[in-house]
Amino acid sequence: MELLSQVIVSVFQWQNLIALLSGSLFGIIIGVLPGLGPAAGMALVLPFVLKLEPVTALIFIGSLYKCSNYGGSITAILVNTPGDAANAATVMDGYPLCEKGKAGIALGLSATGAMVGGTIGMICLIFTAPFLAKFALQFGPAEYFWVAIIALSIIATSSYDILKGIISVGVGLMLSTVGLDSIIGNERFTFGWTAVMDGMPFIPVLVGLFAVTQALVLAESAESISRIGKIAGGFFEGVVIYFKHIFSAIRSAAIGLFIGILPAAGMSSAGLLAWSIAKSKAKHPETFGKGNPEGVIASETATNACMPGDLVCTLALGVPGSMGAAIFLGIMIALGVVPGPLVFKEKADVVYTLFAALVLTSFLLFLFGMFLSRQMAAVTLLPNEIIVPAVLVISLLGSYAVNMNMNDVIISLAFGAIGYIMQKTGFSPIPLLLGLVLGEMVESNYHRALLMSRGSYSIFLSSTISQILCLLTVVLYVMPYLGPLWRRLRGADR
């Protein structure tokens, strides 16, 4: 009780409220700019943040982290470019809604998803964080390997063409092997180019595959993103649609929460898993990927519910679930809040004040969305002649801003051309991107597991968790063929 009153007093101190407000606004701006995700945003404000009090600094950084994810969903919906990999699933139904002129509805869905998902996630975690941290400790390299494989399988099998989806994931995984390998530091596919020595840089690839490709696609037409030339449906229509699908939203929040507490399984996996499950449970799964509001609901709710789980993992185990969480972890250590199982006891006031502030942030971003959605949606009415150069310049600058390096701009342009060719030949860039993001997790855990078992592959099926995860993977690949086979067999019977 004493802790609760201490937390409430701390959150409503004027400096913490200003940190909350400015962090949220800055986070949305950062998220909206393609290429500048939460990681780049936190890195940019680092010199300023380290001068603040630890609680105020963590509230600023925490709200920036949370709101940049929401900001990323805005670009995913409006210009088909996810601000970060976490928003990859939102693109699939958000942008088609926009093309139908329903940008306002899509933004309403995403803001409500961020509010509901974030609030459910935070409230659940405030009470269950210490227990969840204990469960996550049971995961070893083999289990992490399967978690990553499941996330990749979901995105591959949910592609329009499964074969091309799997190939796209494979190419993404192959790209993740560029650079020094994690076991003995052997150089692979670098050709002496220092820009890729630490691996294929993620942000320039993301900018190239989505923003540059999208600009090229838009350049082909002299119209605007909204094909009907107007914005039909408003923010509140999106809110109403959201609450009509409340059970789907709660299920997605539970998925996001579960994925969040698994160490090193990031928000992108949560969004994709929730999207895929929502599709499999829907009466008309064929409408997913073509502007089904439930697709946006599932991905945004899960992603935002995942973020608190990700934070618990970072706080309790010191294992970040994403690039953003890794920077958050570094900032916490720099501020003197050392993560570990004891942080919930020793720094309880700081941790729970941060949690309470993040609950407030969930409502704040909904208000931002409510007041700014109409203006933001107007982007879809601008002629492509204005949008194309603007998207190219902003995204390439976003790519340059991460390391202040022109090599990153060149990588973005190269991947822009690759993404354009992929689109023309029917390959989706999303599985490739996920392959690149999760490649390191797959390979390092695969190697670690083999080293632990002295080269025996039995380790991948030695625990019950591994067996369940393996079975789920098999089911994912078999499922798309079972339905038609069942119908054919029933047809033959008749």
Binding site: I184, P383, L392, L396
Partner: protein, 163 residues
């Protein structure tokens, strides 16, 4: 079999992927030779497995393409602006990236956006200059002033300022 039947997206993509995977396999052999295998783990293991998998899947895609037949037609028409717009956009953006450090952000970006607005929209140069000036100013304010991203000042401005 007529050659035209091979103009299928799956066949073309499949062949490119097989060639790419063969190159990966060749490169991976060099890692294997350079590094010691330790408890079944080597730097070549993962790329080799992936390349083998992609060769298998790309072969399936080629077979599917052969069954489907031709589905690709070249529609490049030199008289249509949209036919060479994508090529021009990639080339123009590559040129922009190359001259960005020399000309500096403000000059290079204004020229770049101005050119594309005039070319794509057929707008009057003065109107295009105002639009690109406002856009470049806004981008400069957000990235440079708000987020402290140091943009390339350019050789010309540095020379004028005597730096």
């Amino acid at each position: 079999m007529r050659f035209g039947k091979l103009l299928n997206k799956d066949i073309v993509a499949g062949v490119v992927l097989i060639l790419f995977s063969c190159w990966v396999l060749q490169e991976a052999r060099n890692f294997a030779a350079a590094a010691q295998r330790f408890r079944g783990v080597s730097p070549a293991l993962f790329p080799t497995m992936l390349a083998a998998g992609i060769i298998l899947l790309a072969s399936l895609m080629i077979l599917r393409g052969l069954r489907k037949g031709r589905d690709w037609r070249f529609t490049f028409d030199i008289r249509q602006k949209n036919s060479y717009l994508a090529i021009g956009l990639v080339a123009g953006t590559a040129l922009y990236a190359l001259v960005l450090e020399f000309l500096g952000f403000l000059t290079a970006t204004t020229l770049y956006t101005l050119t594309f607005i005039v070319w794509m929209k057929g707008a009057k140069p003065l109107k295009a200059l105002i639009i690109s000036g406002v856009a470049v100013g806004a981008i400069y304010f957000v990235f440079h002033t708000l987020m402290f991203v140091p943009f390339p000042a350019g050789e010309i401005l540095s020379f004028v300022l005597g730096e």
